[in-house]
Symmetry: C2
Subunit: 396 residues, 2 copies
């Protein structure tokens, strides 16, 4: 069967991470993504991360299912080629600072003149409106400003950023979701529109009970480390050969946990008879539980508790997680052949569709490799002799 | 204009967090989401978080734009009503443990018989296949098993979970993205399919350079706290009245940062002439920078550095972040009137569409309030006298 976004033409002006992640998600779903890179180094990520056989594996992992052309957008002919691409496109995606597209002459009005059916998506730090719109964006700063960091870390220690660039990636994913929705409107009405996902907004949307509790009570939210703020027992416990994470989320699951520990009697201990008391006496409770947990191994507890219906696991490091049998079964690590650079292992596809599964149709592209293909397939007006692969200066 | 998912009927069997977040995203985009709740307490979240005027603000914040009916799915007539709903639906979403839908008689084969156009989405912990498929899922455990925790925390301290339930929410968002894509295929081919998003897969997809570096080199990834593993200077610095976060991500931005500090000379110091040397001598570098940063206030640095194009912010706590002028401007906190419970403040819409913006069409529903409406609007065959609002035992 045809992939969901087959036939959807995407002009991809993004670079670095948030935007390329968004357009990769579109490419994975079948869109024809044309990555526009500046002459010279191209997307800066081409020079970052581990370089193997002449290719950045970081670049490779966020640019599959795209093709690349280079355009010098500071020149009139570069701009003309871009306009011609936009005329034929369904989607334009950019992650410049707000206003840069306008400075390039691509105002909403101009885009609409070029292509009234165009869906234009912007990924940025704080949004394109409001007092902070013009601030430069960076994942770390979005984590700090949004409140995310204030919720991440140990109780009595400093706020800490998430190791992974969470605001970049969640904003990219929201933008992809918005784009597919906007395409649906476009198919009904014939009209494109603007989609926007800001990194700070995106992180805020994930605050769950922290936000609802604070907005209802005015109380400040607090970091709780690996303890659950409103449930005990919960957290890390010490088995004979290392720690295990246990999350008995309901009274029923707690009973199963205590049964596996052989500690059903704990329910009759006046210190632990209710959740409120268990939170109050968490240290004493955890000590008793740890005495039992320490009598067996991580592997046995993980097996036995899960079989009893108690969520349990271990803190896997990256080598362990990415070689875990479940990870391999789910094809969350895949090998992609990059002609001239060998095979590169990258993460797989997080969304599984049964009839139209995502596939790697293209490895991450060589910079500017697909100009003549795109000019021909999209029927793009192009300055220079691009159709024969010998473009003039603005198209290299 | 019509919302993107107007006319899309969603049978929502989800409860707790990951699934309700997914179906809220669909509802925000205009889908007609019917939340099926068990008799009695309904979705357990109705009893959790801060309760104000008889409603859980946590429930309210994840169930806007839905309507609710109660069905006892252990009874034949409850199952019959569900089947009738499924026949008329476009989408079914569930976040049970894998296999539970089968146990309810709703195998892929049966669902396809009832409605070959149905898109069925499952959100779960490890996926519905593979050695861990039957393990019970929980956000904390997904954070541990996926490798996320191993990347979150200070360098020499323990791995730490993210405060927010990141795997629940990212999996819910991926599922929503998958559903809209599957609807697109359905519109082209007439065939529904299965969409799956697992919490562990979803987190792994966000590992960025950590994953690409490890998969290329075999080296374990390391936590780096608030320092950037491969860039210096970067991180938290101490102003006169508190810390600021600064992220000079490129050489050009670093030069602007040093200019603002009046420390251009640092580039000539042999200890700091390259990024590699600056990482090596990070402590000495940070000390020199802090001496300058400490001469002015947070507010001045944030203003001046951002104006100079250097990403900078402060760690805002939740009260600060949710009352920030930018947050209010972006309408990331909204008030929703819940008849009988008063007005409740919740988070706003993270995806901004210019012509078809998300709106609150329904506040979070009373349990079972919409049976007669749905029976009538969807033309559902329903046991009992549901059309008159007096259902029999299975429909309450």
């Amino acid at each position: 069967m045809t992939l969901p976004l087959a036939g959807i033409k995407v002009v991809d002006l993004t670079r670095i991470l948030s935007g390329p992640f968004c357009t990769m998600l579109l490419g994975d779903m079948g869109a024809d993504v044309v990555k526009i890179e500046p002459p010279g180094v191209g997307d800066p990520i081409r020079g970052q991360g581990t370089i193997v056989n002449g290719i950045s594996t970081y670049f490779a992992s966020f640019n599959r299912n795209k093709r690349s052309i280079t355009l010098d957008l500071r020149t009139e002919s570069g701009k003309a080629t871009l306009s011609s691409l936009i005329e034929r496109a369904d989607v334009l995606v950019e992650n410049f600072r707000p206003g840069v597209l306008d400075e390039m002459g691509l105002t909403d009005k101009r885009l609409s003149e070029l292509n009234p059916r165009l869906v234009t998506a912007s990924i940025n730090g704080y949004g394109s409106t409001g007092p902070y719109a013009q601030r430069p964006a960076f994942d770390f700063i979005a984590q700090a400003m949004s409140g995310f960091m204030s919720l991440n870390g140990k109780v009595d220690d400093d706020p800490i950023r998430s190791g992974i660039p969470i605001s970049d990636l969640v904003a990219g994913l929201y933008a992809a979701f918005g784009i597919v929705n906007a395409l649906r409107v476009r198919d009904m009405t014939g009209e494109g529109q603007r989609v926007e996902a800001a990194m700070v907004d995106s992180l805020m949307s994930l605050f769950a009970w922290y936000a609802s509790d604070h907005l209802a009570t005015g109380e400040p939210a607090k970091r709780s480390g690996n303890d659950h703020p409103i449930t005990a027992p919960y957290g890390m416990f010490t088995a004979a050969d290392g720690d295990i994470a246990v999350a008995p989320s309901t009274e029923a699951v707690l009973n199963r946990f205590l049964e596996q520990l052989g500690m059903e009697g704990l329910r009759n201990d006046p210190r632990f008879s209710t959740n409120v008391l268990r939170i109050k006496n968490r240290d004493a409770l955890n000590q008793l539980i740890n005495e039992q947990i320490s009598t067996d191994t991580q592997a046995n507890w993980v097996k036995n508790l899960n079989e009893a219906g108690v969520p349990c696991g271990v803190v896997q490091n990256l080598p362990e997680a990415l070689s875990d049998p479940q990870t391999l079964h789910r094809e969350m690590v895949i090998s992609v052949d990059h002609p001239g650079h060998g095979s590169i292992r990258t993460l797989g596809f997080p969304v599984k569709l049964s009839k139209t599964p995502c596939v790697v149709r293209h490895p991450a592209p060589e910079k500017g490799a697909h100009l003549s293909d795109i000019v021909s397939e999209w029927d793009v007006a192009c300055a220079g002799d691009a159709r024969t692969g010998v473009p003039e200066a603005n198209v290299r």
